[in-house]
Symmetry: C2
Subunit: 267 residues, 2 copies
C-alpha cells in the first residue's frame, strides 16, 4: 500500500517527539545512583523505572494525538488499533547494558500499518544518537549532525563482522546454526542489543543474527535496515519485521551463505 | 616500597598528558569513514592506524620526558627501563569494538615500579570519560566532572553482574570454570573489553572474569580497581597485575565463591 506522504511526514515528526519524551525519562535514570549496594530489600531499580516511565509517557502522547492508533508496548501490553496503524514501543531495549552503565541500550519506536512497520527509530540518548528509518531512506543524527545511513558492501561471510547480543539467546539447534556462521565470519561481537543494528545500518557491522526476539525488539529495526540498503528476514528468508529469529545483513550477498546454516534451526 | 608523593603527582600529570595525546590520534580515526566496503585491496585500516599512531606519539613523549623509563607497548614492543619505572601502553584496547563503531574501546596507560603498577588510566575519548587509579584512590572524569570511583558491595554470586569480553577467550578447562561462575551469577554481559573494568570500578558491574590477557591489557586496570576498593587477582588468588587469567571483583566476598570454580583451570 502506498501511504500519503504528508501523513507519513506528520507521523515521523511525531515519532521524534516520542523519542524526545522517552529521553527525558530514561536519561536521568541511566547511571542514576553512584553505586547501588546489592542485597538490600526494596532496592531502587532504575531500569524498571526507566522502562515503565518512558512507556507511560509515550503511550499518553499517542493516546492523545492518535486515539485511533493501536499501541503494543513491552511493559503495558496491547491496545488494539481502530485504523490499521499501530505503534510498537520498547522503552529500554538492552536492559542489561543499561544496568551495567554501558550506553548501547536504546529506545525503540515503530509505526506499522497492518503489521508492516514503515517508520522506525533507535534512540540512544546518552550518546545523543538517533537512527531513523522511513519509506525510501534512513538517517542518523549523531550529536546534532544528520546524515544518510548506508550499509556497506561485503560480498563474503569470510570478510564479515557478525554481531549478536548474547550467545545464550540461541537454544537447541539454533546454537549450532549460529556457530557455523560465526566460525565462517571474520569476527563476532557480542553485547550490542539494538545498537548492533544501528551499526549495521551505519556500515560498520555486516551481519546481525539473533533469536528469542519479541515484536517490540524487531519492528523498529526493519525500516532502518531497509532504508539504509540492507535486508532483514527470518531464518527461512521470509520478512523479518515480526520474526523471533532474525537475520539482518548490510549486503544481500551474505544472506544465502548464512541461511544455509540457519534454515535447519528455523521455526 | 613507599613512593615520593611529589614524584608520583608529576607522573600522574604526565600520564594524563599521554592520554590526551592518544585521544588526538584515535578520535579522528574512530568511525573515520562513512562505510568501508569490504574486499577491496589495500583498504584503509583505521584501527591499525589508531593503534600505531597513538603508541608512537605516547612513546615519543615518554622518551623525551623520562628517557630512563622503560616502555612496553602492544604495537612496538619493549624498551628496557634503567630506573625501575616502566610505562605499559595499549593504545586501543578493544579493537573489535573500535572496528564496529562501538565506544567501549579504550586507551590503557600504566606506570609500574619494578613490575607493580602504581598508576593506571582507562581513557574513552568518544564518551569523554577517563578512569584513573593511583596509590590511595581512583577517580572518574566524565564529561568534565571528576568524582571518586567506588566499587559496590555484593555479598553473593547469586546477586552479581558478571562481565567478560568474549566467551571465546576461554580455552579448554577455562570454559567450564567460567560457565560455573556465569550460571551462578545473576547476569552475564559480554563485549566490554577494558570498559567492563571501568564499570566495575564505578560500582555498576560486580565481577569481571577473563583469560588470554597480555600485560598491556591488565597493568593499567590494577591501580583503578584497587583504588576504587576492589580486588584484582589471577585465578589462583595471586596478584592480578601481570596475570593472563584475571578475576576482578568489586566486593571481596565474591572472590572465594569464584575461585572455587576457576582454580581448577588456573595456569
Amino acid at each position: 500500500m502506498a501511504h500519503d506522504i504528508a501523513r507519513l511526514e506528520a507521523y515521523l515528526a511525531f515519532a521524534h517527539r516520542l523519542a524526545d519524551a522517552a529521553r527525558e525519562v530514561t536519561l536521568p535514570l541511566f547511571r542514576a545512583s553512584e553505586a547501588i549496594d546489592k542485597g538490600e530489600a526494596g532496592a531502587f531499580d532504575p531500569v524498571t523505572e526507566a522502562d515503565r516511565g518512558a512507556e507511560r509517557v509515550m503511550r499518553a502522547l499517542i493516546e492523545s494525538a492518535y486515539p485511533e492508533h493501536g499501541i503494543l508496548g513491552e511493559e503495558y501490553g496491547e491496545s488494539p488499533s481502530r485504523s490499521g496503524w499501530t505503534w510498537t514501543l520498547d522503552p529500554v531495549d538492552g536492559t542489561r547494558a543499561f544496568i551495567c552503565g554501558v550506553p548501547v541500550w536504546g529506545t525503540l519506536i515503530a509505526l506499522a500499518y497492518e503489521g508492516v512497520p514503515v517508520i522506525g527509530i533507535i534512540d540512544q540518548g546518552y550518546l545523543d544518537e538517533r537512527y531513523v528509518g522511513f519509506p525510501g531512506g534512513a538517517t542518523a543524527t549523531v550529536r546534532g549532525a544528520t546524515a544518510p545511513l548506508k550499509t556497506r558492501r561485503c560480498p563474503s561471510l569470510s570478510l564479515a563482522t557478525l554481531a549478536a547480543t548474547d550467545p545464550g539467546m540461541f537454544k537447541g539447534a539454533e546454537t549450532g546454526g549460529f556457530e557455523m556462521v560465526s566460525r565462517a565470519a571474520r569476527l563476532t561481537r557480542y553485547g550490542l542489543d539494538c545498537y548492533g543494528y544501528a551499526m549495521l545500518a551505519a556500515g560498520r557491522i555486516d551481519l546481525v543474527i539473533e533469536s528469542s526476539l519479541k515484536p517490540w525488539d524487531v519492528q523498529a529495526l526493519y525500516p532502518i535496515i531497509l532504508g539504509a540498503g540492507g535486508v532483514m528476514m527470518d531464518w527461512r528468508g521470509g520478512p523479518g519485521y515480526a520474526a523471533r529469529q532474525v537475520l539482518a545483513a548490510g549486503d544481500e550477498m551474505l544472506v544465502e551463505q548464512s541461511l544455509v546454516a540457519l534454515r535447519r534451526a528455523a521455526d
